[in-house]
Amino acid sequence: MNAFEYATALSPDSARSLVGNQGAYLAGGNDLLGLLKDYLINADILVNIKSLPGLNKIEPGRRHWTLGTLVTIAEIEDNAGLAQAFPGLHDAAMEIASPQIRNVATVGGNLAQHSRCWYFRHRDTVCLKRGGDLCYARESDNRYHSLFTGNTCISPVVSSLATTFAALDATAIVLRNGKETPMKMDALYHRAWENPLAHNSLDPGDLILRVEIPTSRRSSAYMQVSDKHAFDWALVSCAAAADVVDGKLAHPRVALGSISPVPHQVEAANQFLNGKTLDDETASAAADMILKEARPLEHNAYKVPMAHALIRRTLLKLKG
């Protein structure tokens, strides 16, 4: 790790000015310190944002719940009210990494974590994402990579919170150029869909302040499949959310992680499911629609049937 300067910010505005264009915000540090240790990024200053006032709260509300960016994954896991309001979010949090990571990892840091592509993470390979001119994964071992992408890079988004927030139609509020800018999950990751250099749509200095989760979907579920039973990223993850009224789905949403640079959502499938009674046939038809455009590579075709099964199972967990 190269040497860096260090500062503790006490307000979002001073965090922004301290971080400049070459610095990085330090939240839980789980991802950031790994990037620095392997020289994958350089930061001339780390700005510790954990003392920013008011951003560590879980606040219930009639229209939406608010999670401050500094709320830890363990706090999400342990909050009974939140688990009741959004069971899918609780289940997603519970499966993220390990207790040691959940105790310090934050909402904002989880959303802004960088690619886990093993070529990107190898300090000696400079792939497209690090400014080189080749995607190594395309022609090599791409077993963990995307089924969908809008550019040459096939590194998927792996944030379990992003997948779940997408299904819950949550909005991240980002401080950009002094203004609070709302971003749904598709907007928060859109740049990674288009640009191989991007991990998300954040500009240098953009600060996630909080996430607002609408209360309109009272049923939600999350499931993932990993190589290891615990302490592992998902091969595929799936979140679904809806209101279930008289056995029928109202404004349902399905999102998948680890198969695209953005949480993968197909509006046509959400519309197809709206007003339907859930059974395996309906869930299966939705899964077909969601995966129709999948472009598997040499080593990741297994993700298609895995995602299909996960979509069905996750949808069938939605309860009235």
Binding site: A3, F4, A7, G29, G34, S51, A97, P99, Q100, V104
Partner: protein, 216 residues
């Protein structure tokens, strides 16, 4: 460019520091730590410090450690290489194995992925801090009784995770125990004995758990 030696050990060299141990570097007034750290935090807030070494006060096992550290020094490095507290081990140095687990305010964290400078104002407990008056803690004793280690490299990390679990949940189920230990890996495959040690420490009868544990 700095000389590598200076860079590694900051202003106070390791040898000088170790010589100072027990005289000035460690003060036993733990109660003052939080106050000291809060003062430091206030004084340092919004002020850019580093990249050179700066004073850092850590409260470890109830004692104050006053160190000179560059901001990039991790808590694990501060413990092992600047303070001779080698109980926490370095395995992966990437938040992926659990060997470096310590408690921060009672909760297990990876000390390899936390900057020492950020740990100021928090109570850090390492495996060295568990024994009281020369007696091993029940968890430590159970690890010995149940032969819950082979090479022992993962053991301090497991012991910290299990200690935190039992403080929060004195009679955990098998599933809860596995969930709490999921961030610790053992290359020697001692997990079944570790689970037995957890149940001994929790005072839970083994009879109803043994069958399950055999099949872990």
């Amino acid at each position: 460019m700095k000389k590598p030696e200076e860079e590694k050990f900051g202003i106070v060299s390791r040898r000088e520091f170790i010589k100072g141990l027990g005289v000035t570097a460690i003060s036993t007034v733990a109660a003052q730590t939080a106050a000291v750290a809060q003062e430091l935090e206030k004084a340092n807030a919004e002020k850019v410090i580093g990249p050179g070494a700066v004073p850092v006060t850590l409260s470890v096992n109830g004692q104050n450690l006053q160190l000179q550290l560059e901001p990039r020094v991790t808590l694990l490095d501060a413990l092992r290489n600047y303070s001779s507290l080698t109980g926490a081990k370095e395995g992966c140095d990437r938040a992926a194995c659990g060997a470096c687990t310590v408690l921060m305010d009672g909760r297990p964290i990876y000390s390899c992925q936390k900057l020492a400078i950020e740990a100021q104002g928090h109570q850090i407990t390492t495996v060295e801090g568990l024994a009281a008056n020369g007696n091993l803690s029940p968890v430590q004793q159970a690890f010995i009784d149940k032969d819950a280690l082979q090479c022992g490299y993962c053991t301090p990390g497991f012991i910290m995770s299990v200690t935190a679990l039992l403080q929060k949940n004195p009679r955990p189920t098998l599933a809860e125990t596995k969930h709490a230990c999921s961030g610790n890996l053992c290359r020697c495959g001692t997990q079944p004995h570790i689970l037995q040690a957890v149940f001994q420490a929790a005072g839970v009868s083994m009879a109803d758990k043994t069958e399950v544990i055999k099949h872990v």
